[in-house]
């Protein structure tokens, strides 16, 4: 199943090169340039992609290096 998060990352890299809005000066809601609105949405999508990565491809084998007791924990 590792191909799924890997593919998602590749799609995100491709989506970053948004040639389609390169010269578009449309204002979304009258004050946000569409190119900025797109990348604002892209950042939210990046966060969701990271959530999928953490859920689907978390390196669980590394967790065995967790400390035994949870003392000395800070906020």
């Amino acid at each position: 199943m590792r191909w799924l998060p890997a593919s998602l990352v590749l799609v995100m890299i491709a989506l970053h090169q948004d040639f389609w809005f390169w010269t578009d000066k449309t204002l979304v809601l009258g004050f946000v340039p569409v190119g900025l609105a797109y990348h604002l949405g892209y950042s939210v999508l990046a966060s969701l992609t990271m959530w999928v990565l953490v859920r689907a491809a978390w390196p669980a084998q590394l967790e065995q290096h967790e400390p035994a007791a949870a003392d000395n924990v800070e906020p």
Partner: protein
């Protein structure tokens, strides 16, 4: 005067945080250099993010947006919002696990052991330390300039620089990593609050941004700021490679070792793009709004556009709070000082016998002495080269490309058991040569650099468009040097490793105990 009082209040708070961290700490090297590997999820997220944020995040990004438009966000911020958490996911978690398992405190310790070679580690130490030093000097210079400006020239550059240097030195000296992480957390909260407050106050004063945007759109000189017309596709693509540098910066890699649990990475990885959004969107947007309010700022002054907007639209009290925000920006050199000190004490002092001879406690005090030494040296360099800040700013830009080009080395070390020390050496020497070569080309072509908005100029006309000089940099076929640097480093790492003897079986089994798949260096 009110501004200066608020800024001094801010400096007192960060000093107190450092001293409070000192009282909470223990006199061991793990506690001083890594906060006892015990940071909780929120401090870890905010301090790691704060470590990555510099004055450029607010002041530089708005200045660049003022000149080049909204594309600056996509080019520099949203690419970081994908690549930095991805590198945390792939590399940061592995570095953390190696630290827990083998007790590593620096990247060099890992590379020395992984590739069974002391010289490789020393070479990487020299290379990374050289690329880190300009940050520390710029931090002192920025502090002196900011305090001078905030106090209305009542505090001189020399005194301002000394005040900032002493404050940073004190909380790093006393608080070590814990103090630095807490101060970074406080600064990040200040960044976020400052960005939101500036955005809302200016919006209220302008009664919304609709008119400002309409004004920009109606003028053919400013309309391109609403799109990406002033950024080439090659440059936009190139910036996707720059955030690879983040995880290779020693202060970021060392910060990865401070998490108490691996689970703490989850919040950082997921929320990092949102933190970037919250800081960068207001900065870039206000930079563009500034173009509708203040015309004709030259490149050197464009970075002050948000400060000018706030001065126009807020009162003195808020300007003072703004001053504290600016100080938080320019005081980002704390983690670099601590990282350099950790590297020196671990990779040089302890490695060459100091720890064995003098013990753990002496190592902490050596680290503290090094903090004082580095800060005092940086201060005197900042005084001596007061008018040469441009050199260090340039060095920082090249350092980003240099650290990005070292990312394939770390990826190969962690995921490819066949990678060799000769591959690391080839990639590292190539990186160093490229950084020097880029600097040479930049210097050589300074006289022919076009003005902003003008087309690039060939550096060597007989080579056609191979090396082009743009207003700010030299490009290779239109791409920033970071692209061939990362690809070349990866290729050398691969090819040279293939034709040289692999590490011993013992080392491979130590780092790839699942022997066979070779996917992760810490699976045992």
């Amino acid at each position: 005067m009110i501004s200066a009082v608020i800024v001094f209040g801010y400096l007192a708070v960060v000093l107190y945080i450092g001293i409070f961290a000192f009282r909470k700490g223990k006199a061991t090297r793990e506690d001083f250099f890594l906060a006892g590997r015990s940071l909780g999820p929120y401090v870890f997220l905010l301090s790691l993010f704060g470590t990555n944020m510099t004055a450029f995040a607010i002041l530089g990004s708005s200045g660049m947006a003022y000149q080049r438009g909204i594309g600056v966000y996509g080019m520099m911020a949203s690419s970081s919002g994908l690549i930095i958490p991805l590198s945390m996911f792939l590399i940061g978690t592995r570095i953390w696990a190696l630290g827990k398992r083998f007790g590593f405190m620096t990247q060099v310790q890992y590379l020395r052991d992984r590739f069974e070679c002391s010289g490789i580690g020393t070479f990487v130490f020299v290379l990374t330390a050289a690329m880190l030093v300009p940050y520390i000097i710029i931090g002192v210079m920025g502090g002196g300039q900011a305090l001078k400006a905030i106090s209305g020239d009542q505090i001189s550059y020399e005194v301002g620089g000394a005040v900032v240097a002493v404050v940073v030195m004190s909380y790093v000296f006393f608080g070590g990593m814990r103090g630095t992480a807490w101060v970074n957390t406080f600064q990040t909260v200040l960044f976020l609050t400052f960005g939101a407050a500036a955005f809302l106050l200016i919006a209220r004063s302008l009664a919304g941004f609709d008119d400002a945007m309409a004004k920009l759109a109606s003028d053919p000189h400013t309309a391109p700021l609403l799109s990406r017309e002033r950024i080439s596709k090659e440059e936009f693509f190139s910036y996707m490679f720059i955030p690879l540098s983040s995880i290779m910066f020693p202060h970021v890699a060392i910060m990865c070792l401070t998490a108490e649990r691996i689970d703490h990475f989850k919040k950082t990885i997921i929320w990092y793009p949102i933190c970037i959004l919250l800081i960068w969107v207001p900065s870039v947007y206000l930079g563009v709004v500034g173009a509708s309010q203040i015309q004709g700022l030259p490149p050197g002054q464009a970075d002050s556009v948000v400060i000018r907007l706030l001065t126009m639209h807020t009162n003195e009290l808020l300007a003072g709070a703004l001053g504290a925000g600016i100080m938080a920006c320019v005081m980002a050199s704390d983690s670099q000082i601590l990282a350099l000190c950790t590297m020196f004490t671990e990779d040089i002092f302890a490695y060459y016998g100091g720890k064995k001879r003098f013990g753990d406690r002496a190592q902490v005090w050596t680290g503290r002495a090094f903090v004082v030494g580095v800060t005092v040296t940086a201060y005197f360099i900042a005084l001596a080269l007061k008018d040469k800040a441009g050199i260090f700013e340039l060095a920082i830009r090249f350092a980003f490309s240099g650290f990005a080009a070292l990312a394939p080395v770390m990826l190969a070390a962690l995921f490819w058991k066949r990678s060799t020390k000769w591959g690391v050496l080839a990639a590292s020497v190539f990186t160093a040569a490229c950084v020097l070569g880029t600097w040479y080309l930049h210097d050589l072509s300074t006289g022919i650099a076009p003005r902003p908005g003008q087309p690039p100029v060939p550096v060597f006309p007989e080579l056609g468009r191979l090396f082009l000089r743009t207003p700010g940099s030299v490009t290779i076929h239109g791409y920033l040097p970071v692209v061939p640097m990362v690809l070349g480093s990866a290729l050398l790492m691969f090819l040279v490793s293939l034709v040289t003897p692999p590490p011993s079986r013992k080392t491979i089994e130590r780092y790839f105990p699942a022997a066979g798949d070779g996917r992760s260096g810490v699976e045992g």
